[in-house]
Amino acid sequence: MSSALPNATFLARPRKLAQSWADRWVRPDFADFFLSTLNPVWRLHQPAARIVRVQSLGSDLVELVLQPNGHFVDGEAGQFVLVKVCIEGVYHTRSYSLISAPHERPLRLGIKLQGRVSRFLAKAEGCVVELSQLQGDLVLRSCADPVLLVGAGSGLSPLLALAAEALQQGQSVRLVQFGRQPLHVPQLQAWLSRYGDAFGWQWLDAAEQRFDPACLSALPWPWQSAQTYVCAPPSLWMAVQACWQQAGMESRLHCEQFAAQTMAAESTSVQPVQLLRQHREVAVTGTLLEGLEQAGLHPAHGCRMGVCNSCSCLKRSGTVRHVLTGEINTEPNVAIKLCVNVPVDAVQLDL
């Protein structure tokens, strides 16, 4: 059992008072340090969770079972969460989809073992991690249309959550997986036997075919009347998008892409930079600072030579190259200096 502070309602008002006083007068990291010495998942505002169990789902997929503190708010099926974990002193952030139903505790996340962070988490039972709230737009639209889900690899995790939610609501669900081998077979078979005609699924062998109108029309279901949800790597997403565009059905197509590692070769051409807080996009050539200034913005800066750290800001995603050292940085949620970094592909800044 873990929560932010004891959750009893008679403590709600003093707890709120204590929190607002602490917000004003105590440094947030000191408050979290103090609370975490009492209980490792207790924080002032930050959702955190203990990794209770790690289960293998076959091939390179793993299910992470987390018991969150009281700050974690329910979301909707299909959303993802940012997990921040400390590996050898450095914090890394990755996004993982929620497999469990939104109200279910403990949480279950679907992880594909493909890098340093995922492999660390797969062995990190008992570890405490920080979470963001649930986010993402791949949620069920409220209408009676049948649901079609198209996905591949780790993209199947949010789709399974959507399927579970839709089936529970009594909607008709069809799932198409694209890949080298069928995944999550036991779960899908269980749904088949439980929901009968309301559920159907198919595996398309990526080695033998591409996703095109021909294979789409070969599906035994009326996909034109369905709301389609896609979570897949860029190649598959573009193929699906092309098919739907051809049929003029784009409004029924919904997609989620994780910060995609694009295959763009390193180039000095114009790159799009998204400024998340200002909700605008700027085309940048040269360093990020120069590009933003050319677009009429005035980001904080100082020495303009990479020394004073005045221009440091958070890169949410994307790839940048350091003009002095040549270092390429692809990590999400890291601080970079705008004056000495050039975008190599689409970059998102917390600015």
């Binding site: 440094r27 005045s310 002095l324 050292t325 601080a335």
Partner: protein, 396 residues
């Protein structure tokens, strides 16, 4: 390249600027390097930097976290001691010294280094350079501007680096003398005791702001963060903790005051030893025009001086005893300066550049000497120096 500065901004005529540092009276102890040599030295320093960056890892992360935990528990323990045994003199002394040391380490080894962005690579929100707030009356944003940007970019350039003398003291013959400078030494004592206030007000550049036509209207905006920080610090040390202590209010208040003064005096001593000993150089504004990165490295080298000592001195000074290494690599974790010092010193020998260093007493003695000597106008200084040389000849 120092692209931020154009000749017109410094009141110089573009195309007619002579890159002359020899006009100034400062003694030149480093050999003037050719362009090729400067670039070679710059490249060697860049290579050193790259070596350290590539090797940053768990050990450095563990070190700064240990410092952070030490500061937290040290502060909690010292404040608790004052609150429990404040009226017992030995306990009060222990608590006060403990609190003073905790503030010193928090300001110098933790706060100053974190705010330089030295540990941004940890992605730890509590150690992020752009948002860290330290236990000091000076607001973090003001410090980041006046120190990280202004001081480290325009180091020892008279007229641009306002750290030279802190707007109060005259320490170099190149600074314009006014009658107020006769009080250099008493001013220095006051500055040392209340150093955090000088540091806090420093970035506001109030004299310049008030001289402007809309100065008075802009004052709330300019001074806002500082006033906000003053309120927090005063309430914390002189209201909240004394009130919380109940019957121990007076010893707690006295202890907090003395601990703050301890921190002020120590940080003043270390910081002033960094750029105001006898062997450092100051520079003319013209050196900033089209200054290459290598030339910036050489200016940092020539304007800084180290303090020699053991590990405790290095730790308590926040590794500012390695001032030269800090000015060459302000964004590298300070715990690495010790190992870098050996290599930087070797490079200085190779290129005939001075590597200014000495014991704390010697370095600070030189700073006091400067303050005393340059409290007089230059003609008087010349006379005194002539008399001094005559006396030396007589005796030796």
């Amino acid at each position: 390249m120092n692209q931020a500065v154009r000749p017109e901004q410094l009141g110089l005529t573009p195309g007619k600027t002579k890159r002359s540092q020899l006009k100034l009276n400062t003694v030149q102890r480093s050999r003037r390097l050719s362009v090729a040599e400067t670039e070679a030295l710059g490249a060697a320093l860049e290579a050193l930097r790259a070596e350290v960056v590539a090797s940053l890892g768990a050990a450095d992360a563990a070190y700064i976290r240990k410092v952070q935990q030490g500061v937290r528990y040290g502060e909690i323990g010292s404040r608790a001691l004052l609150m429990v045994g404040g009226w017992v003199p030995p306990l009060w002394l222990l608590g006060t010294v403990g609190l003073g040391l905790s503030k010193i380490v928090e300001n110098m080894e933790l706060g100053h280094n974190v705010m330089h962005g030295q540990f941004d690579w940890l992605n730890d929100d509590s150690l992020r350079g752009s948002t860290y707030e330290w236990d000091n009356v000076c607001a973090g944003d003001n410090w980041r501007h006046s120190h990280n940007f202004m001081h480290h970019t325009y180091t020892n350039v008279v007229g641009k680096d306002r750290d030279v003398g802190y707007g109060l003291l005259r320490l170099f013959p190149e600074q314009y003398w006014v009658r107020g400078h006769l009080l250099n030494v008493p001013k220095m004592v006051a500055l040392a005791l209340w150093f955090e206030w000088a540091v806090g007000i420093h970035d506001l550049d109030l004299i310049r702001v008030l001289r402007q036509p809309d100065g008075r209207e802009r004052l709330p905006e300019v001074a806002g963060p500082f006033v906000h920080k003053i309120r927090r610090q005063l309430l914390k040390d002189y209201v909240f903790f004394p009130v919380l202590a109940g019957p121990m209010a007076v010893p707690v208040l006295a202890g907090n005051l003395v601990a703050n003064i301890m921190r002020n005096v120590w940080s003043f001593t270390v910081i002033f030893c960094g750029h105001f000993t006898q062997t450092v150089e100051v520079f003319d504004k013209s050196c900033l025009v089209n200054e290459s990165r290598s030339e910036w490295y050489v200016r940092q080298l020539r304007s800084s001086s180290n303090i020699e000592g053991g590990r405790l001195l290095h730790f308590l000074s926040g590794n500012l005893s390695h001032q030269i290494e800090h000015h060459l690599f302000p964004d590298l974790p300070a715990n690495r300066y010790g190992e870098l010092a050996v290599k930087v010193r070797a490079l200085c020998e190779q290129y005939d550049q001075q590597y200014s260093t000495g014991s704390l007493w010697r370095q600070f003695g030189e700073v006091v000497q400067r303050a005393a000597l340059y409290s007089l106008p230059n003609p008087a200084v010349h006379h005194l120096q002539q008399v001094g040389r005559w006396l030396k000849r007589k005796s030796g």
